[in-house]
């Protein structure tokens, strides 16, 4: 008895044929409330768009308002591997083939022909400043050539395998782009230095840096943003492991050495440095 009554009230709630109510409201009542919410939300959306529009108007096209979180630029390697781990077996082509392909892709914009076509030859060892004159923007800004050949054996031009097949892999290191950053004072260019972490120091063996000393030439700075400096070529440093211990994990850390870049915070493992693991199996 009681259950029947309950059932019917439930049914009545969903569709009450007597009052023609669906979920406790008639069609016109539903219509009104839905119309109200529709109008209300359209108004809100309009208001939101308006405030967003006003906000976007305050932004500069070429430089973000705040850059204080980018005080120490990050560093990154190519290939990235899986979670910063590069593990392969020289005998098994498929285990390193993707690294070589990644590097091929990554380096293709640096082909000398492309660079010559798009970018300028700049005067090395000094900043390539292209200041605006007051309100008149000096756009688009030109960029300096970074030729693939600068990476020599790691350019992948002669050795299509980037040394992976010999157990002497190349890793390419880059410094994150930050608009307006000047990475060295007094004409001293920043450079990359790599080492093994404590217990692995004997396993790392010899390293070779390309370009020489692993420097990022000052002429590639400052960066003016992707809108003003469309063809910017980010400078690179390649390192080649010449006789790394095989069949063991080697933890490597590379740092940027510069007299103007502050050391990154302890908690950020990629600010001004980059760590990765390399293991070559046989």
């Amino acid at each position: 008895m009681a259950k029947d009554a309950e059932k019917s009230t439930w049914k009545d709630f969903i569709w009450n044929p007597r009052t023609r109510e669906f979920c406790g409201r008639t069609a016109s009542s539903w219509g009104l409330i839905l119309l109200f919410y529709l109008v209300f939300y359209i108004f809100l959306a309009g208001m939101f768009c308006l405030t967003m529009y006003v906000m976007l108007q305050t932004l500069d096209d070429h430089k973000p308002t705040w850059q204080d979180r980018l005080g120490t630029p990050g560093m990154m390697i190519r290939p990235r591997g899986e979670s910063m781990e590069i593990i392969y077996n020289p005998q098994m082509t498929e285990s390193w083939d993707m690294y070589a392909k990644t590097l091929d892709n990554f380096l293709s914009p640096y082909n000398n022909s492309l660079q010559a076509e798009k970018n300028d030859e700049c005067k090395p060892d000094q900043y390539f400043v292209q200041a605006d004159s007051g309100d008149v923007k000096n756009n688009p800004k030109r960029s300096c050539q970074f030729n693939r050949t600068l990476l020599e054996v790691c350019s992948g031009l002669e050795d299509r395998t980037y040394g992976y097949v010999d157990g002497k892999p190349c890793i390419i290191i880059k410094l994150n782009r930050v608009i307006g950053m000047l990475p060295g004072t007094d004409g001293q260019a920043p450079f990359v230095t790599c080492g093994a972490k404590k217990e692995d120091s004997e396993k790392i063996g010899e390293l070779a840096y390309y370009p020489k000393n692993g420097t990022f030439n000052l002429m590639y700075y400052p960066y003016y943003g992707k809108k003003a400096q469309v063809n910017y070529s980010q400078p690179l440093v390649a390192i080649k492991f010449l006789n790394i211990t095989l069949n063991e994990d080697v933890n490597i850390e590379c740092r940027i050495i510069s007299n103007s870049i502050p050391p990154g915070s302890e908690r950020d493992k990629f600010a001004g440095k980059v760590s990765f693991k390399l293991r070559i199996n046989t």
Binding site: F40, W66, G74, E82, R267, D268, F270
Partner: protein, 1035 residues
């Protein structure tokens, strides 16, 4: 006691076994329990009062002189157990604690916490580095419930401690006669058949059948509500054991005289014991606020599950894995739980309870704070609640005129002409023919507050004379008493002979008082304006009229006369013999009448009026006589001026009562004996069709029936019954107190049993405090609505970030920690401050809320909090989120779909809209800054929210900003937000980062919009009452 308890425990275990064996037996057992309760609700089955003394002796094999033998007494004691009431089963402390921990709102939070742990377990099982958020959230939720539980547990423990202090711990003694010897024994050892002697001042140790008495009077007010002491004598005067004179009841007091009686019932079998058992057996239902919170939980759960399921399906459609979708589902459901609300509600109720305690309403159960506010009917006891429980002279008749005396507690009432010589004579008679006197050492106390030794009406006279004519003591010293005949029931008068004040006058003054008609019979003259005139028929008629009128007011009338004895017959030194009266007691001079009543408390008529204008029906339920009850009811306005009962109409129109249409009479007075014969339908009919009802001569069981009848009353279309409050002080009230939705006991005069049964205690015994209770109850209900509306609103800006995170793959705009900072941090003080908000309109001028229609939280509140204000708030938060990301280089267009890369720890060169590259940690700092900004934005929009939540109908400009706590709350939440954002170390502790000053202002337009939007809504609401806006948005 411990022994008895273990016994009953054994019984319980065996029955449990029985139940397992045959489920049918359980049914019969339950039936039997119901039958027991019904049995208790019936009248007392005492028959001993109708038996002769010999029969009673025989029944209990006792002797009228010797009493029981010690052996027999021991045997009975072993058979019946000690003569004490079984204390009501006390709930163990841990059960009370658990009730606080798992009751009502807590369930919601516990469910949330369990879901969190579940989600964390799933994440821990499937991911390598599970985010700790769900774990922390679960822990915080559990902590909130446990802390709030402890808080309310201690709060209630404090109230019960005050209760404990009421308890009278002195063990009672009884004087029994066993084997012919009188002995003092512990009252617990008294057994049926014992011969007991009681004297003035004793507590009756058990139900006694009186066998002999000397001027014994007992105060039955705690049992029947009659304020006058009752004479006890060996004769059976009434079939009803409660009304007959030859039974004295357990735990009533013997006021004066001595009596001897045979114990007929002990312990739980006594009349008092039956009431106590009945009381503890009654179940009181859920409080209205508990029902409201339940309804609220249903709504919230409904919304949470609906959102959860919707987004679960969406997530699955969007290509998330099942496990991810389940985590999202749990996350959404948990995000809907208002973490801070439990604490807010508890604190609001506690604040109100404290405020009420300051106004002399002690609330035992926190949830009962609101109940008075929802009350639609108050059943009030008369004696001690509505009246002062103290006989006072109310009227006098002398010089052929009725004079009114001042009966107010503070002597602010009207006075009468005190210059008449007749008045002086009357005062002299009343002062001299009076054995009452003030107890020593209270000269500094006001006269009305002094304790008096003597019976109630003599004390009334004493105080009246002391007030109007000065020291009675001096008057008595001047007029030395020579002889005295005390009151007895055959003469019905009291007489004394005094010397006169005048030294030279050697005549004696005879003064007499007593039943007016007896006094009149002895008078031949009457004093008018100080002159003796013969008592003619005209004067006798005038006397009769005055007597009838005063009697009709429910007052006890006494007649006074005097005589200056002629010196020639009664010279100085005449030996008056009071046993064998050797002087005239006829042909006296009638002086006047004085009538007494237990007058209503001064504040009561006003309070009743307020209750009435607040739409609350006040019903008087008393054990006292109908005439007195009606008089007091009229006096306090329970029967308002101009309203007549059926009997009044009949006497006005001079027609028999049966010819009056009962519908014409709005008021009615119902006698307990009539009530017995009423069917349930007739009872409902009476309660429905009369607005002003007085129940007189009701037994405790009938009080219970009346309360149940009131609770059945259905107003308009509601499905729940009416919410009934009962006030009372006596043991006789306690079943009704327990059964009522809210029982209100008296703190000073109330009996322990009634205080145990009640939910609220009026510390000053003043009915007017109930009005405070109603007011506070209604206010807190309104303000809880506001608090909840405020707290729920911020749920939307807390949930939407997560929804967008799932749906459009943007970096998470608001994290768990920041959500907790809002719910348990910044939102707390403003939400609580709304409990201090003043009422918008006169809450005492509106009808009590309708429990079916008027919900604490309804769909409209959810609609406005979630659908409207919450949405604006969410936009405000999202706006500041987008501002911060855009100003840091990530334009909105880039953000959609960025989530996977954004949250990839190994992606440390993520490019922004300007071509800059970001490490994981760098962009996370920006994300956390966004969380902080979103949090700050919620604080900013909650400023506007708390201001609009101050009122539900009025404009803020009408209401004003007088709530200082709220203003403090605004500053506090802002300061807390700034503290959380700027304190060094917060980045590590709570992942909150300092904001640029400009980011504080992002949400300002939205805050302003909320304020303007709601003011416009309320304006339309006020302009267009009953319109669409009210129907859809007035919560």
């Amino acid at each position: 006691m411990g022994y008895g308890r273990s016994d009953s425990y054994r019984v319980a275990t065996t029955t449990e076994k029985d139940e397992k064996e045959s489920p049918k037996k359980a049914d019969t057992k339950a039936e039997k329990k119901i039958k027991d309760m019904d049995d208790l609700k019936k009248e007392v089955p005492l028959t001993e009062h109708k038996m002769s003394v010999e029969e009673v002796c025989q029944k209990y094999s006792t002797d009228i002189v010797q009493g029981l033998t010690n052996a027999k007494a021991a045997e009975y004691l072993a058979r019946d157990g000690p003569n004490a009431l079984t204390p009501p089963p006390t709930t163990p402390e841990w059960v009370k604690f658990c009730r606080q921990l798992f009751g009502g709102f807590s369930i919601l939070l516990w469910t949330g916490a369990i879901l969190c742990f579940l989600a964390y377990a799933i994440q821990a099982a499937t991911e390598d580095e599970p985010a700790g958020d769900n774990l922390y959230l679960g822990i915080v939720l559990s902590a909130v419930v446990i802390i709030t539980g402890c808080f309310s547990y201690f709060q209630e423990a404090k109230s019960s401690k005050i209760m404990e202090s009421f308890k009278n711990m002195v063990p009672q003694q009884a004087l029994v006669i066993r084997e012919g010897e009188k002995m003092q024994i512990n009252a617990e050892e008294v057994v049926a058949g014992d011969l007991v002697e009681v004297k003035g001042g004793d507590r009756i140790p058990a139900d006694l059948r009186i066998v002999s008495s000397h001027g014994c009077k007992v105060d039955n007010s705690s049992l029947t509500g009659e304020s006058e002491p009752q004479t006890r004598s060996p004769d059976c005067t009434h079939d009803n054991p409660l009304e007959t004179r030859n039974v004295a009841f357990f735990s009533t007091n013997c006021v004066e005289g001595t009596a001897r009686g045979i114990v007929v019932c002990t312990g739980d079998r006594t009349v008092m014991g039956r009431i106590a058992t009945l009381t503890s057996g009654l179940e009181s239902g859920k409080t209205p606020i508990a029902k409201e919170i339940e309804h609220f939980i249903h709504l919230i759960t409904g919304v949470a599950v609906f959102l959860g399921i919707t987004f679960f399906i969406l997530a699955v459609c969007l290509g998330y894995t099942w496990l991810e979708a389940v985590i999202f589902l749990i996350g959404i459901i948990v995000a809907n739980v208002p973490e801070g609300l439990l604490a807010t509600v508890t604190v609001c109720l506690t604040l109100t309870a404290k405020r009420m305690a300051r106004k002399n309403c002690l609330v035992k159960n926190l949830e009962a704070v609101e109940t008075l506010g929802s009350t639609s009917t108050i059943c009030s006891d008369k004696t001690g609640t509505l009246t002062q429980n103290r006989m006072t002279v109310a009227h006098m008749w002398f010089d052929n005129q009725i004079h009114e005396a001042d009966t107010t507690e503070d002597q602010s009432g009207a006075s009468f002409d005190k210059s008449s010589e007749t008045w002086l004579a009357l005062a002299r008679v009343a002062a001299l023919c009076n054995r009452a006197q003030f107890k020593a050492a209270q000269d500094q106390l006001p006269i009305l507050k002094r304790d008096v030794a003597g019976d109630a009406s003599e004390s009334a006279l004493l105080k009246c004379i002391e007030l109007s004519c000065g020291s009675v003591k001096q008057m008595r010293e001047k007029n030395k008493k020579v002889a005295e005949i005390p009151f007895n029931s055959t003469n019905k008068y009291q007489l004394s002979v005094h010397e006169t004040e005048n030294e030279e006058d050697n005549r004696y003054l005879l003064v007499m008082k007593g039943a007016p008609e007896r006094i009149l019979d002895r008078c031949s003259t009457i004093l008018i304006q100080g002159k003796e005139q013969p008592m003619d028929e005209e004067m006798k008629d005038a006397f009769q009229n005055a007597y009838m009128e005063l009697g009709g007011l429910g007052e006890r009338v006494l007649g006074f006369c005097h005589l200056l004895m002629p010196e020639d017959q009664y010279p100085k030194g005449f030996a008056f013999d009071c046993d064998d009266v050797n002087f005239t007691t006829e042909n006296l001079c009638f002086v006047g009448l004085m009538s007494m009543i237990d007058p209503p408390r001064a504040a009561v008529p006003d309070a009743v009026g307020k209750c009435r204008s607040a739409g609350i029906k006040v019903i008087m339920v008393t054990g006292d006589h109908p005439i007195t009850a009606k008089a007091i009811a009229k006096g306090v306005g329970i029967i308002s001026e101009g309203n007549e009962t059926v009997e009044d109409i009949a006497s006005r129109l001079n027609i028999p009562v049966s010819q009056v249409n009962p519908r014409d009479a709005k008021a009615c007075v119902i006698h307990g004996t009539d009530l017995k014969d009423l069917s349930q339908e007739q009872m409902d009919d009476i309660l429905r069709n009369h607005t002003e009802i007085v129940f007189a001569r009701t037994s405790p069981q009938q009080k219970l029936i009346i309360v149940e009848g009131c609770q059945r009353q259905v107003r308009h279309t509601q499905t729940d019954g009416a919410i009934v409050a009962v006030t009372g002080d006596g043991v006789n009230d306690s079943p009704a107190l327990k059964k009522a939705d809210i029982g209100v006991a008296m703190g000073i005069s109330g009996s322990d049993v009634s205080k145990q049964a009640a939910d609220m205690i009026l510390l000053d015994d003043n009915f007017a405090s109930i009005v405070t209770g109603v007011e506070e109850g209604r206010l807190i209900f309104d303000n809880l609505k506001k608090s909840i509306a405020y707290t729920l609103t911020s749920n939307i800006p807390e949930i939407t970030p997560f929804l967008f995170f799932i749906l459009v793959n943007i970096p998470l705009p608001l994290g768990t920690i920041t959500i907790l900072c809002i719910d348990l941090g910044t939102d707390m003080v403003p939400a609580i401050s709304l409990a201090y908000e003043a009422a918008e309109s006169d809450i005492m001028k509106r009808q009590p809320r309708n429990p079916t229609r008027d919900k604490l939280v309804n769909e409209r509140l959810i609609s406005i909090a979630y659908g409207q204000i919450g949405m604006i708030q969410a936009l405000g938060g999202f706006f500041s989120y987008f501002v911060i990301l855009a100003e840091n280089g990530f334009l909105p267009s880039l953000l959609v779909g960025i989530r996977l890369n954004w949250d990839d720890r190994s992606n440390n060169d993520l490019e922004d809209s300007y071509g800059q590259q970001w490490t994981y940690e760098q962009r996370k700092i920006v994300e956390y800054t966004c969380h902080t900004a979103f949090f700050v934005s919620i604080v900013v929009v909650q400023w506007a929210d708390v201001i609009i939540c101050k009122t539900r109908r009025n404009s803020v400009f009408q209401q004003g900003m007088r709530n200082k706590i709220l203003i403090f709350g605004l500053f506090e939440e802002t300061a807390l937000a700034a503290f959380l954002s700027y304190t060094p170390g917060m980045d590590v502790a709570l992942r909150m980062y300092p904001l640029k000053p400009s980011w504080w202002f992002c949400a300002f337009p939205y805050s302003f919009l909320i304020f303007v939007y709601d003011e416009i809504r309320k304006l339309i609401l006020r302009r267009n009452p009953g319109g669409w806006v009210e129907k859809e948005t007035y919560y």
